[in-house]
Point group: C4
Chain length 128, copies 4
């Protein structure tokens, strides 16, 4: 299958709300970077996390298999360090093959959930 997308993506808005309802992981407050690798080669990703008042964290390294999607929970990142909750951040994702990236937040701080999503920003050079 043909690879589609871009190699560099950015998500300026990042914020992990304080922990919500730990009894159900799917409904816990979280952010996800959803990565689609529609092509026939594995995608090797490097994430860097930017903050308001310190140098960036990372790189975090991940692989998305050929013809697979990875819905990465950003609160799951551990190596080299977890992203702190309650802190503004931003994310840059680079891949060695074209992928497509969408960002979603579930906020479960109140009794009801709130959802938001957007495509990430893609640098202009596009994969074939």
């Amino acid at each position: 299958m043909r690879a589609i997308g871009h190699r560099t993506w950015a998500i300026p808005e990042g914020y992990l709300p304080p922990r919500g309802r730990p009894e159900d992981r799917a409904l816990e407050s979280h952010e996800a970077a959803c990565v689609l690798n529609a092509g026939d080669e594995d995608a090797h990703l490097e994430l860097r996390v930017f903050f308001a008042d310190r140098e960036p964290a990372g790189p975090y390294r991940l692989t998305v298999g050929a013809r697979r999607t990875l819905h990465l929970r950003l609160d799951d990142l551990r190596d080299p360090e977890p992203i702190p909750r309650g802190t503004d951040y931003a994310t840059v994702i680079r891949s060695d093959v074209p992928v497509v990236v969408q960002h979603t937040r579930l906020d479960a701080r109140r009794a009801e959930s709130a959802l938001m999503t957007t495509l990430a920003w893609a640098a202009a050079e596009e994969g074939a």
Copy 2:
């Protein structure tokens, strides 16, 4: 009327929440791919659905008439197979004429609904 849009679209974020309130179809948890075909020729679509841990499903074939919009409920897809609920997925849509695609989720798992939407990602080649 002039066709506008692109022939290849991708939606990295896909998740059908477990079934909510079956008494009202419009308020049941669902995802929709909203397709606009503003041109004077019917659009023949092929959808492929990508997963985290298996090969893609599809193609699903659909037609959007000339000068029509189709708000496709992804939980309605049956042929060749339904998309399982509670599972991460991603979608690629190809059309033989330019269309525009937007993705929306209604999450009705809690007492109140949550909504999110984004334009899908479009490959660069654009219809006239």
Copy 3:
């Protein structure tokens, strides 16, 4: 001031939920097309509304003054005809000068509101 944006925009997702709380117009279920005209000439807009099973409605004609923004409530359109509630639709906006368009829905069908927004899709030719 320099005009920025595009002359053709599309919003595939459109749906006016059944009327919510008429006691407060700002909290009533609605959709808005937010148009920014940052340039020094008035923008003359033509909207066309597409449906699932009938020919498009319109054109609806609107003006956005130079250096002004118009947050157009789509449920306010009357001429040539109102958009019916509870019906899937899509919108194409054409302008004689470059503008930027964003789409927002407030859904007040339940006790709590839900919000969603996205930039509209823009045709490639861009204003200076």
Copy 4:
């Protein structure tokens, strides 16, 4: 690190809901323009705010440090004037180096919060 993004961004949809729950600043109704400056030079920003029925306000001047993100609360702007609550507005951001901009609204007017987000619109010229 390589600068990524664009120098001109626009957010057509702007609305600061009437003040919600002042006891917790993070849950108060607000809008944020999240700016990522991934490059090695400080970004000097100029914001202009557009209204429905008066000339634009601004410029508001801000700096985002090299390799930093700024999640700017638009209700915090004071100089030259605050943005009034309950008023439709739009925002244009210009930067002297490439940045990426995303817009988010938290609406806390009701007992539960609602969230929405989108990338801002970017003018075509892209930073290296």
